[in-house]
Structures are given as C-alpha cells and as structure tokens.
Symmetry: none
Subunit: 404 residues, 2 copies
C-alpha cells in the first residue's frame, strides 16, 4: 500500500481542535563554512527562541528523498506533504507553470519553452537567444498567440528572459513527450515524440504548433526558434481533506509554493509580502483550518546566491517573530526545511535538513539548540521526509492504532 | 524477496552454542512527564544493572512499524520476530483467541463476538448489553453451544464481560468477512458478507449460526443478540526452525504472548507467574533451545493505567533480577519493548522503543545508561523492529556473508 494511503487508513478525521503547523524554512540546511569558523548558517545565527523550542521539544533530521539525493522543490515538497517523491513526480513544465501562478487543470499538458537562435539551416547557434529580455520574450510570444491547432487550445506565458510556459488544454492529452531541445548547439530542435498513444496525439499538436511558430519567427534576428522540454501533467494526488480529514491552508508568498500546496488540495491564503504578514494571516484564519503550511523563502534565495551572512540574518529575523506563532499553541509545531541550500555550494544540496518538533505528546530529548549538529543527534533520529506527515498526525493524536 | 526469506537464505543453522535472548519489556518506551521533571518512566527509574549492560554493549531505538504508527500487540510482535508487520497481519479475532489461550489451526476462522441488546424490531439499543458479567456471558453461550451448521464446526469461548470468541473449524473456510457489528446503536446487526468466494461460503455459515442464535436468545431481557467483528485466520508464517534452524522457546505469562510466539513456531514453556519464575524456567531449559523470547508484561499494564511510578517500579524490579539472566552468558542479549506505552498517554504510542544489545560481537558505543535519551543517540541508530531479528542472528554469528 502507498505510504499516504496507509497513513490515511489510520486517520482520525475532522478533529477541529488539535492543529498542526509546518513552518518550512526553504533551504534551511547549511554547510560548515571555512570563513565562519566552520559553522553552518544555522549554527552561526543567533536564534534563542528556536533554541528554547528545541529544549521543550525534540529534534532530528529529514532526508528529503534518499541519502545523497539533492531534490528540486517539487519532490522536496511532495515528500513533506506525505507522498513518496519517487512515485509522484512534478514535471518541469508543471513546476514552471506553478512558479508563475498558473494552476494547471489535471488534463493540461505543460512544457517549459526556451527561445533560441538558429541559422538559416535551422541549426541552433545560441540556446538562450542571447538571453533576450523578458519584454522581448513577451513580444515574440505575441506573434504566436493566435496560432490555432485543431484538437487543443494553446496558451503561452512569459516567465523570464528567454523562458516561457506552453500550456495545452484539451481532453485526452498525454504528457509523456520527449524534449524537443537537443541540449546543445550545432543541432536542430527535434520533433516532439510521444511515448504512448495519448502522448503521440499530443506530440502531433505540438509539432503543428511549432511549425507555424517557426514560420512566424523567421526573419527575426535572434530568438527566431524555440525548444520545449519537461512536458508534464500535474500528478493526480488526493487532497489532505480526502486523505486525512484535514482542513489545510498554505501561507506562501511565492507562486510556486502556493501551486505545490494546491496540488494536495490546500486552500491558498492571501498573505502579503513578508513573515509578519504571514503571521497576521495565520492569526486571522486560526480557527478555520487544522493544518497550516507556512513557507519562508528568503533563506533559500540567500543560499543560492552564496550569501552566508544574509541567510543567517533571515534565520534571525524569523526567530525574532516566532513567539507569535508559538503563542497560538498548535498541538504540533514542526520547524524544518524542504532541503539544504548551503551558501558554500550556492545550490540545493543532498544534506539532511534539521527538524524541530514541539508538542505536548513529543518525547523531550534534551536538545539544547536548533542546529545541524544537535539535530543529527536528536531523539527523532533521521527520517525520510515522506514520513513527517505521519509523525505530525501522530503527535496531534490524529492516527488510530494499527492492528489489534 | 521478503525480509525474513532473505535473512533465512543467509542463516547458519543448528548452531547449538550461541544463544540469543530477547527480553521484551512490554510497552517499555515512555514519554517525558511534567510531574516527574520531564523524565520518562525509564529515565526516572533506577536500574544500575541495565545501565551497566549498556556500558558494555550498544544501544539504539526501534520503530515498531513506521514513523508515527502506533502498533497493536500483533504487528509489534510480528515485527520483532522478523516479519514485515504490513504483510503479516493478525486479525482481532485471532488475537482475541490467542489472548484466552486458544491456538487456532491455520484453517480456522475466528471472530470476536459481543453480546448486545436489541429492541423488538432487532435494532441495537445497547452495544455492550449493559456489560453483563462473564458469568452471564457464559450462561448465554451455553444456550448456543449445541447449534449445528452444516459445513463447519463451531466453538464458542467466553472472554470477559459481554465479549466472546467465535471459532469456525472446517476446510476451505475464508476469513475475509466484514463485521456484522454496525458500530453504533440505532441500527440492526448486519448480515456477514464475504469478500471472496471462500469467505462468501463461510459468511453463509456465520449467518446460519446467527439466525439460530437469535431465536434462542429471544426473550432474554439483555444480551438478546450478538455482533461479530474482526473475522480472521492465522497468517501462515514459517517457523523459526524452518527459517533459521533455531530451536526457539517463549517464556510468557499472558496467553496472548504465548499465542503470538506460537505463530512463529516457538515452544511455549510453562513458566509460573512472575519474572523470578520465568528466570528459573530459563535456567532449567537453557541447554534445550537456541533462542529465548522472554515477555515481561507489567510495564505495559501500568502504562495503560497511567501509573507512571508503578511502571518505573516494575522496571526496577526487573533490573534487580537481570544479573541472573546475564550470568547464563547468552551470545546475544537484547532488551527492548514491542512498543511504547507512556503513562502520560495511557495507551500504546508511536514513539520509538529503547533497545539495548549486549554481545561479544557488538560494537561498544559508549552508552552510559539505558534510557530513551541515551538510546536515541546510540550506536545502533534507529531501526524498524522488523530488522532486529537479522541483527540478533548476525551478532550470534548465525548469518553467512551475502554475496561473493
């Protein structure tokens, strides 16, 4: 049985009292940094309130997917929401759409598009079309928007620079289509090819669209062609309400995280532009939901930019406000990340992610602080992220005993 | 390959020297208790002998089933005996039978029965029949014992109060039968319905029995009807002897644990009424077996009753006698529990269970005590219980190398 179905089979539904809060600090985990006494960002930052919570609760580590595996945001969140990230994949096309605020219908096929520049034989000479501006991208898309292909509707949405999203809407579409992007210069874009019958038909629509698009782009100097990759459909995932009888809400500022939360059926609350706004929204809606997902983004961005001190600073900012959350007295509060984003690597990484759990039903483990080194020895041990949902439900006394 | 088949494929059989002892302290794991300085029962109790064993061995934690999952006694023991508790389930009917000392044949179907009270339209008005005494239950069963149903033999056994066990004996019976208990008052008992052909035929026998039973119970004021739940057959599990070439014996006082041990083919030794009796039996039979399962019950009962101090006291009692066991010099001694039963929750829980392993082949990890907080940081890490059997066999040098 799938893990989420197993937890679902034990769920005690429609408890309106014992609330669960998952505070996700994006890219939380760090890496010992030579320039800062071999401390991680979390070890370097001062966060007395998180440390005090650790001393009242239990700590551990989450392995986002499997040891050694660096996850994208899709699998990292899917796992935290209790699904096996190897079974429910969110394709690049869908993720790109979620990132600009598009919520795909389950029947849509999405792909990420890149404008590129080809020579007069159609061979790619610049895969990023000289990194045209978003404005130019938008102008090129406007040339293509009235293309019609029998069998489906087509939408085009600019993302940034040379990147855009292609959305096909129709019935019986299939997303198992290979990339048209050859991945290097010196080759022509490939025709779309489907890997099963519905995808073959859909690939035909894609090729019809591309043929018309190329004729309209011809003559422009750069960005006179396009490639497509990451064809995908939104996985069909049961909602938190169906699975666990949980009324769930997401408090996220960035569109992608709103989109990921919507995949599991969370309500998306409008929550302003910073953590204080998010907390205010949480307070306002406290009685309306049983599970809250709060997404704190800035730590990840700083990690990606290699900004060790800024990442530490954003942890301190969060720490300064967290008592407002604690004072709401959730039955279970979990503070963790979706993955590590060490400033030293300037990217997501595979390192396990610190986890802090506070609940009247948690076994205090004597943790003295919320840091990687404390969490690695914490009483919760090291768990794959996909088990966190069960652990949260258990601590909220929302799971029945298994077996007699 | 199933886990136990894999370990079995590596087993070195019929070693008569290196003995394994599993000392199971039922419901061992506890929860930080506000009234006792946020210590658990095991942390609060004084157990110098267990602590000394920890300093000579290695500690860790067992997750009974999966993170967050609270197990019943069935899956918890099945896992400790090396089987996947999600694959080999012990139904409520079988467990109830084991609990009163019935050892089902693999072809039997068992159900838990409850006497209830219905109005003159057959609608349940009291699901527990006013909690009739066990004597009254026995009297009601005596009205039903000569009911005959062509196709199977029927046995009825009183359990306690309004509860009894129904046992069907025959060939080609099937246990996948839905409960007849609607689970609430204001409804009639449902007819038994099978979920596959053998269960459909068996459900027919059940319905024939119930029809005759109801006509005999009619006219009694309370307990004038019955409902059945947890229809099940004993899972077909290979014995320790078949799997590992282990002569195994159980030293348990309560019938249910004797029954669970018998499921994996252990001999059940008659061992009196307390831990001293169990140790005496162990000494007497030391040369006769290679694996001993000793079940210490009292910790669980105290946890279920919310008796923190009594639970701690029973740990101390066990500690006072354990040197008698140690002096037998088993090749491997494991001390652990089947699950946690924190007095603070008055029930089984999902929290991992402390594990202590002592063996000349174990890697000493510097553990200074046998407590949850030490075990959570122990050298054995946190394992699912189903892996313990392999770990025990390995430390007894009873597993071959895997692969060339």
């Amino acid at each position: 049985m799938d893990l989420h179905r197993f937890y679902s089979s034990l769920a005690i539904r429609n408890d309106r009292k014992r609330k669960i809060v998952l505070l996700l600090i994006d890219g939380l985990g760090g890496l010992s940094h030579e320039g800062y006494g071999y401390k991680t960002e979390l070890e370097y930052a001062s966060h007395p309130n998180l440390d005090r919570l650790a001393s009242r609760g239990a700590t551990g580590m989450l392995t986002p997917v499997l040891p050694g595996v660096t996850p994208g945001s899709g699998p990292a969140h899917i796992a935290l929401f209790g699904m096996d990230p190897l079974s429910f994949t969110i394709g690049r096309g869908v993720l790109e759409a979620l990132g600009i605020g598009i919520v795909p219908d389950p029947s849509d096929v999405l792909a990420r598009g890149n404008f590129c520049t080809v020579d007069d034989k159609g061979v790619i000479i610049d895969r990023r079309a000289g990194r045209i501006s978003t404005d130019t991208c938008e102008q090129r898309l406007s040339l293509l928007r009235d293309i019609r292909v029998p069998g489906c509707d087509i939408e085009l949405h600019a993302v940034r620079d040379h990147r855009f999203v292609l959305r096909l809407k129709g019935s019986d579409l299939g997303g198992r289509i290979d990339d048209t992007d050859p991945g290097k210069v010196g080759e022509k874009p490939k025709p779309a090819a489907g890997r099963n019958p519905p995808a073959e038909a859909t690939a035909g629509f894609v090729n019809a669209f591309v043929a018309q698009a190329l004729s309209r782009l011809r003559g422009t100097s750069a960005a006179n062609a396009l490639v497509l990759r990451g064809f995908s459909m939104q996985p069909s995932v049961p909602s938190f309400d169906e699975l666990y009888g949980l009324r769930s809400a997401a408090l996220a500022i960035y569109p992608m995280y709103k989109g990921l939360a919507r995949v599991v059926g969370m309500d998306i609350l409008n929550c302003g532009t910073d953590f204080a706004d998010q907390l205010r929204t949480l307070e306002t809606h406290w009685d309306d939901y049983d599970y809250f997902f709060i997404h704190y983004k800035y730590t990840d961005s700083c990690g990606e930019d290699g900004e060790f001190l800024s990442k530490a600073h954003h942890i301190e900012t969060l720490d300064g406000s967290i008592d407002r959350l604690v004072s709401l007295e959730p039955a279970v509060l979990a503070v963790t990340g979706d993955h590590s984003t060490p400033a030293a690597l300037r990217s997501h990484s595979w390192h396990p992610v610190p986890l802090l759990l506070v609940s009247p039903t948690c076994r205090r483990d004597g943790s003295s602080a919320f840091t990687e080194s404390v969490c690695a020895r914490g009483g919760l041990g090291t768990l794959e992220s996909k088990y966190l949902m069960g652990v949260l439900l258990a601590h909220a006394l929302r799971l029945e005993k298994f077996g007699a």
